[in-house]
């Protein structure tokens, strides 16, 4: 029986996860505590918070598991820097400084900062960590596992077969060919920041037509065996990590969209950019379909698990679910690099003889709200605070009155999605609520959708789909029934789909109670559910963060555990 702390760090979205006796106890992204979006730094605050939550002293930790092999990564970086000489002359000093200055010493740094002895620090391979993060907490005993991201040590795509507690790698596609970096390059070309704007590209895709297939055939080749190959002249990830795309891409698709320019989808130029996003989405889905079919052929499994940053593409996941030939499919809520911390912890936990954990039921793996502290600070701030007997009923009443409610109850979520513990909730009926939400809080591009959360058992009344293994974690989309699109105008995307969350009491009890209360009053059992954060900020974690959010944004009410903080009407 062992206590294992998993860590992912140094690229983007650093995180820590704690596994004790094979059970996932806590998992926290560093950004939630440092308040720096996608914080890549060593997740010491997250690691110590996990231990403190579990009441475990660092000395009692049996192993610290890091999610990749630092020296294998160094080798890949050096080989590529030298292979692409002289194009890499600008990247060389930066890459070397980053590798030699901090990344190869990461295991020592982690040991020093956490107080866990160095001889208890282990490493796992990057894609193995991803695969474990999905398969080992999935509800399947046997599954094909597909990992697709930018790059790990050397691989950018891997196929695995998971059986019982074991994972066996079957095949890989190696860097510099990478679907993650294809998406990143096009994200940069569309004027969005890499590692941050990918969701925006996915949202934009619904507004365009996939009519640039011929152009994309010059950018990426999809082979009949499921593998793929990038036209490397279109990309710059071998020689410039920040730019993302090369001159070849502009020769094929035209000049990049200037970053920061406001979007106007009535403008033909922006329409064409939307067409590029739509074609990219189709090409990505085709590529993933090829990979999934290959995985099916190699494993013969009925189930598919997906991990890596690309697995957060909910539209692609829905298409895989429909067309790849698997009966069931699972995507872990923190499928990106943060999830590597969980995977590494699970791998080492198994190495130390612990059993595989039960299937992940809830993403609420963070820290709880300190209501007493929140109450004391809110009073000092002169806010109107009321203690509630039944927060769910009050929240439902506010939503039914068309008010926007910040809902911070329970432990915060693991992964990029707010699943009811740190959410902004609103009535999904009126399209104007989207504009209000954007104007007051999110300041998002107009093409980005908002998501619905629905009582699981009532899903089929509103969507052309049932709850599945992905929908509780908001990692898939479903078509909204044509007859319900008017009732769900605020959460129906341009293409008639919605990135739904199906809610069960066991997975998100607080949100389930709110939706049940809504249904009891004759409302639809659905709420618009978007993350509780301001533009460019990480999702709220603590009561202080929630109060800071309330001060900064003109929302109607904040539910903080069992407290109601209301703004005068």
């Amino acid at each position: 029986m062992a206590c294992v702390l998993g860590i992912s760090a140094h690229y983007h979205d650093a995180a820590a996860a704690l596994v004790v006796d094979g059970q996932v106890i806590a998992a926290i992204q560093e950004e939630r505590l440092s308040r720096i979006k996608n914080d890549p730094g060593l997740p010491i605050a997250a690691a110590l918070a996990c231990l403190q939550f579990a009441g475990i002293d660092p000395q009692a930790v049996d192993a610290l598991a890091f999610y990749e092999e630092p020296f294998a990564k160094l080798e890949r970086v050096l080989v590529h820097l030298l292979r692409h000489l002289p194009r890499t002359w600008r990247l060389f000093p930066r890459a070397l400084a980053s590798q030699l200055g901090s990344k190869i010493w990461v295991l020592d740094h982690l040991s020093e900062a956490t107080g866990i002895p160095r001889d208890r620090v282990h490493t796992c391979e990057h894609h193995h960590s991803h695969a474990a993060s999905a398969f080992l907490v999935s509800p399947y005993d046997d599954a094909a596992v597909l990992v697709v991201d930018g790059v790990g040590e050397a691989h950018s795509t891997t196929l695995w077969h998971g059986q019982g507690g074991a994972l066996r790698m079957l095949a890989s596609v190696d860097f510099p060919h990478s679907l993650g970096l294809l998406y990143a390059g096009l994200t940069a070309w569309l004027g969005f920041p890499i590692n941050e704007g990918e969701y925006k590209v996915m949202g934009l895709a619904a507004w365009g037509r996939p009519n640039l297939r011929d152009e994309f055939a010059k950018i990426v080749t999809l082979h009949p065996d499921g593998s793929y190959q990038l036209e490397l002249g279109c990309f710059a990830h071998m020689s410039d990590a920040e730019l993302g795309f090369g001159p070849g891409l502009e020769r094929i698709l035209g000049p990049r969209r200037p970053p920061g320019r406001p979007w106007n989808l009535d403008d033909p130029a922006d329409r064409r950019y939307a067409d590029v996003a739509a074609t990219l989405q189709c090409v990505l889905e085709d590529a993933l379909l090829g990979l999934a079919r290959r995985a099916k052929a190699l494993t013969g499994s009925k189930h598919l698990c997906l991990a890596g940053g690309v697995a957060l593409n909910a539209r692609a996941n829905a298409r895989l679910r429909r067309e790849a030939g698997f009966e069931r499919m699972f995507v872990q809520p923190a499928a990106g690099d943060a999830g590597g911390a969980l995977g590494a912890a699970l791998i080492v936990s198994q190495r130390l003889g612990d059993p595989r954990p039960p299937a992940l039921v809830s993403a609420a793996l963070g820290l709880p709200i300190d209501a007493a502290r929140g109450h004391a600070i809110a009073r000092e701030l002169g806010l109107s605070v009321r203690l509630l007997d039944d927060p769910a009923t009050t929240t439902a009443r506010l939503i039914a009155e068309d008010r926007i409610v910040a809902h911070a109850r329970g432990r915060f979520e693991w992964g990029p999605r707010a699943l009811g513990q740190r959410s902004l909730l609103a009535r999904p009926r009126d399209r104007n609520i989207r504009e209000r939400m954007n104007r007051l809080i999110k300041q998002r591009e107009p093409f980005r959708p908002f998501a619905p959360a629905i009582l699981s058992e009532r899903t089929a009344e509103y969507f052309a789909a049932d709850a599945d293994d992905m929908s509780p974690f908001m990692t898939t989309v479903a078509p909204v029934l044509a007859t319900k699109q008017d009732r769900l105008a605020a959460v129906t995307h341009e293409d008639g789909s919605a990135r739904l969350q199906t809610v069960e009491a066991a997975r998100a009890p607080e949100l389930h109670a709110v939706l049940t209360a809504l249904a009891t009053t004759g409302e639809d059992p659905i709420a618009l559910n978007t993350s509780l954060n301001g533009a460019g900020e990480p999702i709220v974690a603590s009561s202080e963060d929630a109060l800071a959010f309330f001060l900064r944004h003109n929302i109607d009410a904040l539910i903080l555990a069992d407290l109601l903080i209301e703004r005068p009407k």
Partner: protein, 227 residues
């Protein structure tokens, strides 16, 4: 030190604000500084044992977030007016976690000194903008100055309360001033070291050039499935 700040601001103002592109970059750097300060204050609110001080830090952080937005918006506007619009760095700041490294008393002393310095610098800019008929920019800084003065006052009062007496408060201010000097020295050292490192790695790069052929032969790019 504080008078030096104002003098330096007056002397450098013509350079800093000469063209819309330069002004945009300068304002964006102020926006990032305010954003960084906001992060530090929010972390302080989470760490302080006193709910009353947490509330004050949260209000202060809220002001800093608003200032960051005001600076960033003006920077965007000026950038769009520039003949060659500059690429402004995104409004993403880092936190130095000063509350944890300095402790609450010295953190307050640091914040107070920063606010005081900003006030003198901004006062000098307002004068310069007025003299040059740039009313909009003068108004921007004047609006922010109202908050900066309030921040300077409350942090000084709070520092006095936390320190227990005036002598201890002054001691904290002197200690932080010394710490800031040391930090500047280290930053200067790092600046020089980075340049030396850059030259050294470029030399290393040239020396490694012959390996390129070898690597291309021995480790070619792999395509398709690897098993």
């Amino acid at each position: 030190m504080s008078d030096q700040t104002a003098t330096l601001a007056r002397l450098l103002a013509p350079l800093a604000w000469r063209t819309p592109a330069r002004a945009a970059r300068k304002l964006q750097s102020f926006a990032r500084a305010e954003q960084g300060s906001m992060l530090d204050l929010r972390l302080a609110a989470a760490r302080t044992p006193s709910p009353a001080r947490a509330a004050l830090y949260l209000r202060h952080a809220d002001d800093e977030a608003r200032h960051a937005q005001m600076f960033a918006r003006r920077a965007q506007r000026l950038a769009s007016e520039a003949r060659r619009p500059p690429a402004l760095k995104p409004l993403q700041a880092d936190s130095e976690r000063l509350f944890e490294s300095l402790g609450e008393r010295d953190f307050l002393a640091f914040v107070h000194m920063g606010e005081d310095r900003a006030r003198r610098q901004f006062d000098a800019y307002v004068l310069w903008f007025r003299e040059h008929g740039r009313e909009q920019d003068a108004k921007l800084f004047e609006t922010i100055l109202v908050d900066e003065r309030r921040h300077g006052e409350y942090t000084r009062t709070l520092l006095g309360e936390l320190a227990g007496d005036e002598a201890s408060a002054r001691q904290a201010l002197r200690r932080v001033a010394r710490w800031e000097l040391g930090r500047r020295w280290l930053r200067a050292g790092r600046f020089i070291a980075e340049r030396i490192y850059l030259v050294a790695t470029l030399i290393l790069y040239l020396l490694a050039a012959p390996l390129t052929l070898l690597i291309r032969l021995a480790r070619p790019i792999r395509r398709g499935w690897q098993t």
